[in-house]
Symmetry: C2
Subunit: 323 residues, 2 copies
């Protein structure tokens, strides 16, 4: 929807709404730009404090995906009348704690009464205007890295539908509260070798891969067998769990897709992620090193999952392999 807005002519706008990047970037001076983003989501589990943490991690992730450092956040909330005040306070406290974990501060908020429950943050971070990660810039020969498992949408919906119990879902969902901070810091250290990056959220792996392929005018080949997955996802697919976004996600990338997908992989590559990982296009010669350094920094699931190819006469494409 936002992509339809014309690009502001303001020369201080480094990244606007035109390339489906994760956040906007606005130059304040020669060496300082602000990274601005906002996100709010519906509850992913019944624990208000953990939900607050996950929603905050999800909002902060867009700043990390651009190589920025989160500084200040504003809480954005829609709370239904029926929500217990203690639950609302727990959501806000979870968000605030995760913002503090990011080294930033919640300095305000806006809350409305509504029929649905939503919570999230608008976040302002800082970044050097010449050191921004974007959707554009992936080069032929790059290798693709994914830093977190896929399948959180299946677990969240499995829990909602009773296909998995809280005891088994919770350890997975707790991981969604983890920040992409360490991943971003390692990427910044190897800035010259990170040619493009995004985080994987609502459009699923292939939806965000599509933005990167189109933005960079390349083809992306993804090795299905190498994709990191959360536990229990095969069980969720076998039980028929899916999400409301999976089908629109699938339809939106279909024109670019090459290769066959089994039912299982079809669910996973289109599964909308909450607080998903970084998807990185790194120079072929340094991708192994980047991956190793990510793992050393605690990003345990960072894995090479594919490579960048030249786009063909049909334009950018997404190739899935290994089925």
């Amino acid at each position: 929807m936002m992509a339809g807005l014309r690009r502001p002519s303001d020369p201080a706008v480094v990244v606007g709404t035109e390339t489906s990047d994760d956040a906007g970037v606005y130059r304040l001076s020669e060496d300082t730009a602000i990274v601005c983003t906002a996100d709010f989501i519906t509850p992913v589990l019944d624990d208000p404090y953990l939900f607050g943490k996950i929603a905050a991690a999800n909002s902060l992730s867009d700043v990390y995906a651009m190589g920025g450092v989160p500084r200040a956040a504003i809480a954005l909330a829609m709370f239904p009348k029926e929500l217990a005040p203690e639950a609302a306070a727990q959501i806000l406290a979870g968000g605030q704690d995760q913002v503090a974990e990011a080294g930033a501060a919640v300095i305000g908020g806006h809350t409305v009464r509504g029929q649905e429950l939503y919570y999230g943050l608008s976040v302002t971070g800082v970044v050097h205007p010449d050191r921004i990660f974007r959707n554009v810039g992936a080069r032929v020969g790059d290798r693709l890295i994914l830093t977190r498992p896929l399948g959180s949408g299946l677990i969240i919906n499995g829990l909602r539908k009773g296909a998995i119990d809280e005891a088994r879902a919770r350890p997975v969902l707790a991981r969604l509260a983890e920040l992409n901070r360490a991943a971003s810091e390692v990427m910044v250290q190897l800035f010259e070798h990170v040619h493009a990056a995004t985080d994987v959220t609502g459009f699923g792996l292939l939806g965000h891969a599509r933005n990167l392929a189109v933005g960079s005018r390349v083809g992306l080949a993804i090795d299905l067998g190498s994709l990191p997955l959360y536990p229990h996802v095969r069980e969720m697919v076998e039980k028929g769990v899916t999400t409301g976004s999976t089908r629109p996600n699938r339809e939106s990338v279909a024109p670019l897709l090459r290769g066959a997908l089994s039912k299982f992989w079809d669910e996973l590559v289109h599964d909308p992620q909450t607080s998903g990982g970084m998807f990185i296009s790194a120079s072929g010669a340094r991708a192994d090193e980047l991956c190793r350094r990510l793992v050393d920094a605690g990003v345990a699931d960072a894995t090479i999952v594919g490579e960048v190819k030249a786009s063909t006469s049909d334009g950018p494409f997404l190739e899935v392999r290994g089925e």
Copy 2:
């Protein structure tokens, strides 16, 4: 709700959530701080483009109230399924045009599907960390200035309830799209003489006056007869129009209130404002000059509406006079 959050211990937080200020302020360097705020509202009239402008002016106002200059904005929207795509586009376009009018840029957005329609902005502005207007700092002997008429809540609700037709309401509502930019710029020019300031929004004149009185530990005396009012507000009150926030607003300031209010003034001083004016505590010696310069800058309704008194043994108070 946000005031219940503990203050972040981060020393870069210049203004956090503890004093009901209009926006948060976070120091980036010795001479640069960011002002961050977010607001989203339900439609105030049936014209999507004008609504977008008003919602944007309303969101930008919090940055102006702190003496900041808006730079970058993120659109925040909840759009119901039934909303025509053209109407959604008009709302976003109105917002974007008003952000451009402020010299800032919309650099991103977050839209969700929901049952209600909400639109607004998160805004990041810049300000010198030593030149911030706050709720605290009003001094005994200051005079109080209000820069815009009261009663927009009555007009908006009168229109919803059919107590006023679109043709008569629209000229009033169109004024809500005006920015508080000129007012803020004049206040910045006379920075040393502006001891405290806020903008008048959902809590009504007395609700925001209360925040300023409590924050500054003073009493505020307001001359009812001098308050600027939008056209048609007496008719609205006579027709029994009120708003859903008027009663909670009244109850929340009742403990501090001194003096009698007729039904008419009772509605007006508690009427929630959308995109309301600045409420300024300026040094007694320079208030006339500030007011004159505001009028010269196009802030035609700027008026002296009262004065600051010493708080008594009961603490801060709000006195209404001239009934």
